[in-house]
Homo-oligomer: 257 residues x 2
Amino acid sequence: MDQVTSAQHWMAQQMGLIIPHLSVDCVVFGFHENQLRVLLLRFKNTEVWALPGGRVYREEPVNTAAVRVLEQRTGLRGLYLQQFHTFGDPDRLHSSDFQAILAQQNIRIEASSLLFDRTISVGYYALVEFAQVSPAPDQLSDECRWWDIRDLPKLFFDHNEIVAVAVRTLRQRLSYEPVGLNLLPEKFTMPELQRLYETLLGQPLDRRNFQKRMLAYDFLQRLDERRTGGAFKAPYLYRFDRERYAAVLQGGGLAFG
Amino acid sequence: MDQVTSAQHWMAQQMGLIIPHLSVDCVVFGFHENQLRVLLLRFKNTEVWALPGGRVYREEPVNTAAVRVLEQRTGLRGLYLQQFHTFGDPDRLHSSDFQAILAQQNIRIEASSLLFDRTISVGYYALVEFAQVSPAPDQLSDECRWWDIRDLPKLFFDHNEIVAVAVRTLRQRLSYEPVGLNLLPEKFTMPELQRLYETLLGQPLDRRNFQKRMLAYDFLQRLDERRTGGAFKAPYLYRFDRERYAAVLQGGGLAFG
């Protein structure tokens, strides 16, 4: 089976097995060296970029579908996907756009197919160190690329809105999620911690207030080591007291303002 | 048409008009005098309590369906419903339980009906001053009652889990939502503000830290009035600087920990 036939077969098979009117879409955020990016796929033979998304099988938990779809579409495994919002407007997708894209790929599906019916999509996000993962395009796509969240193209369907809501939710949940543990090396400096939160929040934070707040939470252990190699006075290294960090996040959460 | 026939007619009509496999459920939290309660309906002729929930019409935005369903089931209008989570496990509802409840109401629907198919439910919550609203049961229910969230009965389907997730989400979002403006009178004392947050968070807060934090946010205007009538020294009255309150909530948010 060549690629096009295989994709066509796959989609035809899907239609009998899936829950109608329902999909999942995944917003994978990549953090690296003070950049926040999002992973997009370009549909084969088009310039149309989209989030990795797909359908839910009849007996499959929706959360499981998100994990499976992300792996099938990008090869990424083992990411911690969190549900953040369900997109349920009747006009959120335009079946003619979708048909045009499928036609570009020599996939012909009847206009009456339930793939073109109104679809409610459950959104998930994950946050990874993007230097540590290697996404790859699936058979529906030509390319997989990390895009800066401040500079996205016009996306498929309502995917720009899905990304915007994911960014907003990520920022609100920063107070409760151990992003420091997941995205920083074991030992880090105070400026590195601050830049992580500044990048994710998308705004600068006052250096003195930030340091004062973080130290007051009492979850940072200052080590007897300094980061060397810079032009300025070498800053101290810290690491998280994991128990205390978890307790603060589960209690009132962090405040940055 | 008597009530039973009318309910039967209503449900039969629904089936042709609704999106299969999809529902909405509403968690209405009621706050009053330091109690946090949730609104439940008791199915007619049963002791089964459930959240007000229902189906989504084919052309209806899911968010609109939540508002309509809440009004149809409880008479409550104009509440600010916020989506918080979508419940998508295949085993979240047991069609035999549902058929038994319908049988109690003399509603007979074929076991093959899509009403008994796997259903994904989108959860919404609202927070109101419960002394200020008057819910009333619909034709499927005998009774509408506020239940203390710490003392719920075993609910229909997975509704206990839906309430638990709603409570958790409400608590996390407290940092970003103007609950003070919605649930307190225009003028209030520092102990009243503290008790509001303690009730919603479900945990005591240290009085001095709380006062210090709240004043540091600089969104409270102390008035030249005191609350009189108590046995103790009359506490000062405050009101919100709405602009500043909104700015803090939209910035880093409040921390209570």
